[in-house]
């Protein structure tokens, strides 16, 4: 049970595939337009429930409860060895090589 007043992430469908704009490419037209927003939960609820939240700008939004205390999962990514090679190559061209040894 997630308590009223907790900071949560909700999700809802803004537009079903059938309602999408005519200029949208076919692959996009096959999927709905979705929305995610965060806010303070307005009633006790469980993950997956349809809930109401009060957002940072004091707007009421409704949607399916996804997460409580949602956090950022992005980072610096997995190591890309090519970047190290670039980093060293430019130093080598400019400062290194036979002239510098």
């Amino acid at each position: 049970m997630i308590k009223k007043g907790e900071w949560v992430l909700i999700h809802r469908i803004v537009m079903e595939p059938s309602a999408r704009a005519p200029q949208v490419p076919d692959d996009t037209k096959r999927v709905p337009l979705e929305l995610w927003v965060k806010g303070y939960l307005q009633e006790d609820a469980n993950i997956g429930d349809e809930v109401t939240v009060l957002t940072r700008t004091k707007r009421i939004e409704k949607g399916k409860l996804l997460e409580v205390n949602p956090y950022y999962k992005h980072d610096f990514g997995k190591f890309v060895p090519e970047l190290l090679k670039v980093n060293e190559q430019v130093r080598d061209i400019l400062f290194g090589g036979a002239d510098n040894e």
């Binding site: 996009t28 957002t55 610096f76 990514g77 061209i93």
Partner: protein, 466 residues
Amino acid sequence: MSKDMSYAAVNERKSEIMKQSTKIDFSKFESGSIAFDYEKMMKEAGYTLEEIQQIQGQTGVGNTPILELRNLTALARKCAAPGKGARIFIKDEASNPSGSFKARRAATAVYHAKKLGYKGVIAATSGNYGAAVASQAAIAGLKCIVVQECYDSRGVGQPEIIEKARKCEALGAEVVQLSVGPELFYSFLVLLEETGYFNASLYTPFGIAGVETLGYEIAMQFREKYGKDPDVVMATNAGGGNLTGTARGLRKAGAETKIVGASVDLSGLHMASDIQFNKKSFTTGHTGFGMPFSTWPDRSDVPRSAARPLRYMDRYLTIHQGEVFYITEALASLEGLEKGPAGNTALTAAFSLAQEMDEDQMIVVQETEYTGAGKHIQPQLSFARENGIEILFGDPKDEVPGKNIILPSHPSKIKAQDADLDHMRKSLIKNAIKTYNVTPTAEDLEFLAVETKTNVDYVKNVIASL
């Protein structure tokens, strides 16, 4: 009675919502035909350069340093013919409060919103502008909503866009995240109507006039330090406001500097495609914005866009994703400057263009942007690889957007390509004739000549060939 919130009904109320949310009466500048009074709009709906300098100064925006990139210049000279290799400089816009030149645009828009008594501001953006509006709104004590195109239908988002959401939220904004599609504009209109907040559009006169100080500062700083104007100012071109504002500022300073635009070549990728959304490794500064917004500026979220880059552009260069990633890493390794890659689009084009120019000439790249987790080349390339994009060393001219990212095997392989400006000018004229469906008046012909930086005879010839 509750309002009809269907897509069609909300779009029907668009001009009413726009008027409420900007308080600009665009009809005042219209001629009833193709032409409209651009300068009058910039003057009456905007602010003078001096006023903007004052507005920006209050929140620590502007007066950013110019840095000479001596090592990157030396690397370019290693790849150039003897006597060639212009000096490369950057205007370090990452030192603005929100980490990019967009703080200049946001400062003006938010100041105006506050002056008119709005309680909050809304901006539709995935990028640096959202952070800038959030930052300025925080300082002004206004509420702020940033509407973001963020995820594909699998719920996967570019690390760069997710980092921007984090930054906006850190600065006190509410972030509304959407999946892929141009109907973002619908959600944007609904929010404007629901909240009654100010539309901090990138394309109002305030948004563009805010960048004029950037061009003006470049001229003043160069005159003070080097006794002359730079030969070339290179601006990354997406929606066109960056280039337009900078060029207008340079003109106000009386500079004769050439204005060159640069975009990452993403030809072949559809900007509204759910599947292709995460196949591109640049979320801004690319041809997907640069081309359509240059050849038809009024496709933006206000009736008449204040960003009209073809009026000012002397040349337009495109560059590949792999080349920008390479130069971003080179900038870190040789200059000790870790910056976000999108802002380095113009720097990459400058690295190539410098090799055509003489050693005593000067190019200034007019922006840098902040970097960090998500918004850095490492997570962006790592994300690309996870999404099936091949990353390899080779000749960047073989790069296919959405399939591979080719890092140049040697910096001498970095070659900017000239976009066909003549073709773009013709497209703009064609789009104008098609949209307004009128026989152009003398005023329209004169307007189109200014829009395309050509002359009336040129415009007449293009119309005759349609």
